[in-house]
């Protein structure tokens, strides 16, 4: 350690270097050295445990790693999955609706009018039970419907 001489000390660790060719006894041109460094940047960085941000070669711009590009864009896969799910659900709902329509259309030809009206009221009102007054009467008189509704809050 006593034989190490320092000169031109700067606050940063920096140095110039040239590469010599022992067999031909001249220095290699800068362009060749630059292209060699550019290709092997990773190995040089790893040797010093540094990276592109901390080890800088002047006048050699670092090439950036491109983001990985999968063959099929990921978003199309997810889009396809969700699209198919929604499409299937829509078809199911439509077809079950059509089947319900057909069953209702077949109904009136077999049953009595009053029973049919009650059944309509039950299916459409989503399980809210019918007002017992309506079922006993059998026929719903439209003229008095609003009056009945006024009485129910009591």
């Amino acid at each position: 350690i006593s034989h190490v001489l320092l000169c031109n000390v700067t606050q940063r660790v920096s140095f110039w270097f040239v590469v010599t060719d022992p067999s031909r006894n001249h220095t290699l041109p800068a362009v060749e050295v630059q292209s060699a460094i550019r290709m092997n940047r990773n190995r040089i960085n790893n040797a010093f445990f540094l990276n592109d941000q901390t080890l800088e070669f002047l006048r050699i711009p670092s090439t950036l790693a491109p983001p990985t590009d999968p063959s099929v864009p990921i978003w199309i896969i997810i889009f396809g999955v969700i699209f198919c799910i929604v499409l299937v659900a829509t078809m199911l709902l439509i077809f079950s609706g059509i089947r319900q329509h057909r069953r209702k259309n077949k109904g009136p030809s077999e049953m009595e009018d009053s029973e049919d009206k009650c059944e309509n009221v039950i299916t459409i009102e989503n399980g809210i039970p019918c007002d017992p007054l309506d079922m006993k009467g059998g026929h719903i008189n439209d003229a008095f419907v609003t009056e009945d509704e006024r009485l129910t809050p009591l």
Binding site: T10, R12, I74, F79, F83, L87, G97, E125, R150
Partner: protein, 543 residues
Amino acid sequence: MEKTRPLWATPLQFVFACISYAVGLGNVWRFPYLCQMYGGGSFLVPYIIMLVVEGMPLLYLELAVGQRMRQGSIGAWRTVSPYLSGVGVASVVVSFFLCMYYNVVNAWAFWYLFHSFQDPLPWSVCPLNGNRTGYIEECEKASSTQYFWYRKTLNISPSIQESGAVQWEPALCLILAWLVVYLCILRGTESTGKVVYFTALLPYCVLIIYLVRGLTLHGATNGLAYMFTPKMEQLANPKAWINAATQIFFSLGLGFGSLIAFASYNEPSNNCQKHAIIVSIINSSTSIFASIVTFSIYGFKATFNYESCLNKVILLLTNSFDLEDGFLTANNLEQVKDYLASAYPSKYSEVFPQIKNCSLETELETAVQGTGLAFIVYTEAIKNMEVSQLWSVLYFFMLLLLGIGSMLGNTAAILTPLTDSKVISSYLPKEAISGLVCLANCAIGMLFTMEAGSYWFDIFNDYAATLSLLLIVLAETVAVCYLYGLSRFESDLKAMTGRALNWYWKAMWGGVSPLLIISLFIFYLSDYITTGTLRYQAWDAAQ
């Protein structure tokens, strides 16, 4: 005999439907902007006053009309007076316009949602240029999130005249968005009633998660302090009051006919007064809640940008003056800059033009609203969080829920009058009418997926509904109070719900609200007239 009207299974479904309709994207991307522009905490004063004076009465009026007439907007207004069916038709037309352009936002949200499943997020890095030594120039000059929005998502053209072609990726997303909406409205209230449980409740879950995450972010307190420090002088600014009134008005979605449509599926004895108050209070509190989340995210983003700006300056100075690494920190930056300026004046003056002045205030002051806030600012904040994919998925899922919830109301406004009309519903079943409406809207919506589509979107967003809605609601209020008769309406309501009408509502409907609407209308008209040629902001790839 006529089929009995489909009803909501429980009154809770009705409340949730109204909430999911009213709480929409405007609460997330317009209210925080207004709050920031008009004095932070002091904006809440005009906002709450307008809520009580304008929002609640008008909301109650629409719900009461719908529940009493038990028909969609066209039929309801025809019952009030045969000369007024035009009001109903106007509501349907405005709703149609709204449906056309609103679902495009859902399409964009789907696009971002699908792209959130990648690592790293595609908007966090700029793509590389040809020889891989740097980034694409457009992306360098703007930021990566802006590049992703303007180039990858919209592929925007430099001006509205150059329409470009329909972009197939947003078009696919638009088709998917309309399919989802169709799926939800397919069966009328039966299917809508179940969907609204999700669209009303899930956004709150996500907002709470984001609130917790947002408040624990580094720098969030900067944003919150900036937002909530009241600037009392803004109270004297008439624009603050006008914007508060406008925000309440449009946020509740009055005048589109959706509220009338929803209320028409109610039991006549439903207590719509209570529901009106609940819905309007929840809508406003959601706005305030969302703005807390937004501002903590703003604060995080501003602090992050401020610190990276400082780091860039430090790096620049360290490199130019060969300083020791770690010598320059944020604390001693100013002193070192002065020292360098005096010690090496020539070299410092060379470097000086490149040194940016980093300021936290300027970062915070970039107030953005609309699609810019949702798709650029938020994504920029999200990409800097840990596990950004999770936050991104949550955020866009929430945007989707909010958007689809509002779409349900908009389509209900169109479909209810159509299914009520005996002419149309005798030929076509409900599913076919819904399908045709969705198909028509989707086809016209392809306009917004073209390269100039975002400019068309801005036009529709700013001008499609504002004046018409003010006029419609004014006509509605005047019609109910003076044409139909306030006392007659009062006795109808009393007979229907069993409760007497409070004097407050009568005073508001009869006097205050129409005056407010007239003044808003006059203000907007004069604003349009004095503005002259309208201008829009364009994105030019060459700059």
